[in-house]
Symmetry: C2
Subunit: 425 residues, 2 copies
């Protein structure tokens, strides 16, 4: 048992920010939180307490949509919309991952930066290359961070060199699954079924991936209703589907197992109802949706409907690996939407986006993202002393850290109870 | 004469990014640029050359709209729209500046952070307090940075304690003007006529400030068409004005001397034509316009019409002092606008926002913001080596610095040819 002392802040619900000034949190040796306390728990010896002083202790961040092989394009190539952006910048970069040396070099930086930014769990797209994907998974294992790692399936409307067959993706997933069953750091790193998106996957591939998910119980991640041209294209490609979401649903890739759908800028009506009914997560990627001129996802509507919502950087369409930036942008975009709708769509609050980045996203990984009893201890120790020059309150300190802070401020990182050292670059 | 060598990048026009890999720039002892050169200029001894190696050398940033006394509220209090935000959070904070000790303490931090973020020139709102405003001006003088510092005039619809009379604001401006004529670091720090905005200023005050500007030739700064409720209110307050801009124009506060108008989210038609005709600057504050749910300013329309546009952080409605964040957000908002208008309003390019943040904003201060011959040498030396791990081109390195960089990367700062040391905090 370990007992930590710090200024503890977390959100058990979207509206409730729990604040324990110089509070305590006790963590079992298996990394599970026993309890949080305003005062030193009884039977705790002072010598047992690890004191972080006046620092903030918050749940670590969870990034539910990110493309590891696009890491080298970070901060670049943001002058096109989705479909030409894929063809012009993204597919050529992803092709490089046939080369395992290149993959090792860039994936090392990617995993290092997740650590740096305090993102302890992520749902990651790799590429079609099984060897590079295994390398990425191994780097996660070495880092101690949690991840779902997806070998991408794509066999149409893409360069031949970035295409795999249904057989190849099934074999690749089988290998990755077996590898991680043995070497996956006790389930911290797991595979996830990853059809790129409907336009890239034939009926045969979608069918096979749906069956595979059903058979194995593996979760699913993909893209949905990101951009108007993409949606029109899906209508042409899948004329029998009643909406884009239905094109996943009919193949068993829409909540039959836990499912993440990134973007959903134009999700409405039937598609929205299907997501709600099937418990599909909207992964909101506001930086990406701005950078690629995709649009403003109606997150308030999704929350009101009781749909699961998490946040994603969507690097490299998102231009930054920090979840702080995503939280800021999520609020800003919701406010522009509020202005556009003359106040009809209430904007997101700070505690809501903090909840989305921690507990809501974390729920995809189990009991992760909160400091309630029974949760895995994923936490960041934040030194905001340079921001705290004038007796700010703890909620103000959290707000200022979210708006003004960066990786420099994170002094210690815990994942499932273990303090993680800086990964080798 | 000094000669600097580095990777030189600047934008003489919005579309043209000039790139000189390991180029040279020669600066006269008065701080004026003699020339930029791809190769070492003739008659230059190697021993004369100050070599910044592989670093980037770019024009320093110019922030054309920022409220110094709101610095303590940075990253806080962003859950209301403009008018309640002013009454609830901003006016109470500005009242504290009656206390010169408080003003000294916070203004010191404000000026320090401008330096840190590489913003070498700014147009600043102070408060109604003459003593605190002089303190701010003196801190700018000590720092070596350039600024227009505005004693704020406001005498209606505001707390009595944050109100001054027309006589007080005229006297205060006279004192500040005389003080800076003598102690203003050779014109680097100058006063600017600063009516807060129409709702805060009586007809008498606006008339007097217009006369004062005409008499002295002093420039003017204020707010315009930021928020729908504000615009409706101005219509009620100034029923004879044909538009919000006309309410300034009829008092001689709309381009009769050089004029900055922040926001302009809803500027159109007559108001836009008046700005064009009078050469009034739109100061685009996209982070603020998002944070206060104000809306999306149609910057492409302004640029197409030939209106002057600069960028502002508008701290603390803007949540960050870095002009990098403002540039990122300007592009993002323009892309959301592009999506909303189904592509009618072309989004801003990287070179355009860089131009706005450097040469366009700088033009308000004279020949500032470019590296052309005859310009004042305002420059930043940027070490992006941690971002440049894989042979990125120089335009890519600039783009990555703008999207991913921060204050850590700025290694040296020059203003009018002088390297500025870190101000005392």
């Amino acid at each position: 048992m370990k007992v930590y002392r710090a200024n503890i802040l977390y959100t058990p619900t979207p509206e409730e920010l729990v604040i324990l000034p110089h509070g305590y949190i006790s963590v079992r040796s298996n990394g599970i939180i026993e309890g949080v306390y305003a005062d030193k728990p009884e039977n705790t010896d002072w010598r047992q307490v690890i004191d972080f002083g006046d620092r903030l202790l918050i749940p670590a961040f969870n990034d539910l949509h990110v493309h590891a092989p696009q890491y080298r394009n970070l901060g670049l190539a943001l002058d096109l919309e989705l479909l030409p952006w894929l063809n012009t910048y993204t597919f050529p970069e992803e092709m490089k991952y046939r080369d395992s040396d290149y993959a090792t070099r860039i994936y090392r930086r990617f995993v290092h930066e997740l650590w740096m930014q305090g993102t302890m769990r992520s749902a990651v797209f790799a590429t079609v290359h099984p060897e590079a994907t295994r390398i990425l998974a191994d780097l996660f294992v070495q880092s101690g961070m949690g991840a779902y790692v997806g070998l991408v399936g794509m066999n149409r409307n893409c360069p031949e060199k970035l295409s795999n067959t249904t057989e190849e993706v099934l074999n690749g997933m089988l290998m990755l699954r077996e590898h991680l069953a043995e070497h996956g750091n006790n389930g911290m790193v797991q595979p996830i079924v990853t059809p790129r998106f409907v336009p890239s996957c034939s009926e045969e591939m979608l069918t096979a991936l749906g069956h595979y998910a059903a058979e194995t119980g593996m979760p699913v991640q993909s893209h949905l209703s990101e951009n108007r041209s993409e949606i029109d294209w899906v209508k042409q490609l899948e004329p029998d589907s009643t909406c884009y979401g239905d094109a996943y649903n009919r193949y068993g890739l829409f909540g039959q197992t836990p499912t993440l759908m990134a973007h959903c800028c134009y999700t409405d009506g039937e598609e929205m109802e299907l997501m709600r009914k099937n418990g599909v997560f909207v992964v909101h990627c506001p930086t990406s949706n701005s950078n690629l001129s995709s649009g403003m996802a109606p997150i308030r509507k999704f929350l009101n409907a009781g749909i699961n919502v998490a946040l994603g950087t969507d690097v490299s369409a998102g231009h930054h690996m920090s979840m702080l930036r995503v939280m800021q942008c999520a609020i800003q975009v919701s406010k522009l939407n509020y202005a556009q709708t003359h106040g009809q769509m209430q904007f997101l609050s700070l505690s809501e986006v903090f909840y989305l980045a921690t507990k809501s996203g974390g729920s995809f990984f189990g009991k992760v993202g909160s400091f309630e009893s029974g949760y895995e201890f994923d936490a960041l120790v934040v030194d905001d002393s340079y921001l705290n020059y004038d007796n700010f309150t703890l909620p103000q300190r959290l707000e200022r850290y979210i708006y003004l802070g960066d990786d420099r401020d994170i002094k210690r990182r815990f994942c499932r109870g273990v303090e993680l050292p800086e990964p080798v670059l």
